[in-house]
Subunit: 268 residues, 2 copies
Amino acid sequence: MQKNDFGPRITREAPRVNRIISREAANRDRRCAEPPSACDNCTVRWQALCAHLSPTELFALNQIARRRRLRAGQRILSDQEQMESFAVIISGAVKLTKSLLDGRQQIVGLLFPADFVGRPFAERGSYHAEATTEVELCSFPSAAFERLVQQHPGIEHELFRQALEQLDMSQEWMLLLGRKTSLEKVASFLLAVARHVRPPGPEGAGELRMHFDMPLSRSDTADYLGLTIETVSRQFRILKSSGAIRVSGARSITILDPAKLEAAATLK
Amino acid sequence: MQKNDFGPRITREAPRVNRIISREAANRDRRCAEPPSACDNCTVRWQALCAHLSPTELFALNQIARRRRLRAGQRILSDQEQMESFAVIISGAVKLTKSLLDGRQQIVGLLFPADFVGRPFAERGSYHAEATTEVELCSFPSAAFERLVQQHPGIEHELFRQALEQLDMSQEWMLLLGRKTSLEKVASFLLAVARHVRPPGPEGAGELRMHFDMPLSRSDTADYLGLTIETVSRQFRILKSSGAIRVSGARSITILDPAKLEAAATLK
DNA sequence: CGTTCGGTTGAAAGTCTTCAAGGAGGGTGG
DNA sequence: CCACCCTCCTTGAAGACTTTCAACCGAACG
């Protein structure tokens, strides 16, 4: 497991892959509805929950699984509402948000392929989950899933491991939200994305990706960093004009000077 | 389980209890070193991990347990360092902090009696754990504890439950850190403490305690809320002069007008 | 009785937000 | 194919909030 993980775990080129996958996924859709062999071709077969399950556990899980496809902006879970399902993300990105009555909003988690969506042992979620891009899910009716978890400790163990990783991440984020300046926030976020958008291959994390696409809009980025979109935009400009990064079309980022970016992420 | 829990779970009069307990605890210290009956008199016997274990699990756990007593300010776990033990808090409060190289610090978690300290499945903690008051721990050598967890799924299940609660709490805190004003932050913190400093009895949470002591110094409060001590102090003064609260001697708080405090916690 | 430490208060400075206006890209319809 | 519109992003200037710097207070302690 990655320690001192910074920010969300972003699995192998999550953001860019969406468009590419989306077509072929339509075919997989049907195949996957037929249990056992369905998982074999799954993109996250060896990274999600599934990778850590015994064949029987996997089979049981697959029995209750259903593929779902969501457009960007579509809601997955809502606070207040009854939670009716759990899911594993196959492609795309999901944001978890909390908000105040007057509309101020904060992204409290960002989930990527292989991550698990849902809050076990609670009837109602405390946050709102929404697709930030087109998203493909492998979802499970909550009742059946919980029954399964009780029978197969392996699933719970893996959920636990993921929960702890999310906890690490949210603590890192609390440090960012409470104590970093806007420039540090933006630089840190860029580095977090760059480090986690990893090339294919087992555990290729840790190295910086020099080129990648932002998984979030400016507005979502602001909500993730506890800033306004204007401030985010301004910090991008500073990093751009200092030669640390290059930005093409608001989403595509190239890191030109990693050291400079790294410095901006920690120094005032 | 409490949903929409706000802030840390503070178990029955956590902050005040410290001084009271500290004397009699000295005696228990020795008794508790002798396994099985030791737990019977334990203050957190029915709230901590222990409450959810089978008799055999509890016995096994007790076999490897050791009581420890720490003074305020003493370190429990350090980032970077090898984690050598896990522990359950018996009395006092423990803060989890993260900091940047230049000294800026953020409290990323606050733990109270019955809470669990330590990060399973990781060699090195990602945070620094420190007693904020005098603290009594029931601690377990990490190797033995991890072996035990593997053998007894009940323990892992309970740890999982606690981890999810901490995750809920840190997400609530991300909203506070990223989106609330200083007045809202302080008011929210006061309410969080008031709501969780609960009178004895099973599940007495939810109601506001009208009088209580702050579990943290101004400096720690600032580090918890992502503010400076001066700002915290100023917001206290505003709440004080608006008649929402009364403050005696910097630690003792009385809520005079709950509605007013509640309003300050959400409105700009 | 002086020192120290944690907390309070005031004034100035700085950072981030708010308000307002101006692009740039992508889709639609003429 | 181009004009138009819509959305998302950028930029500027003014204002608000929080921090910084500095002085002061008061209780605890030797």
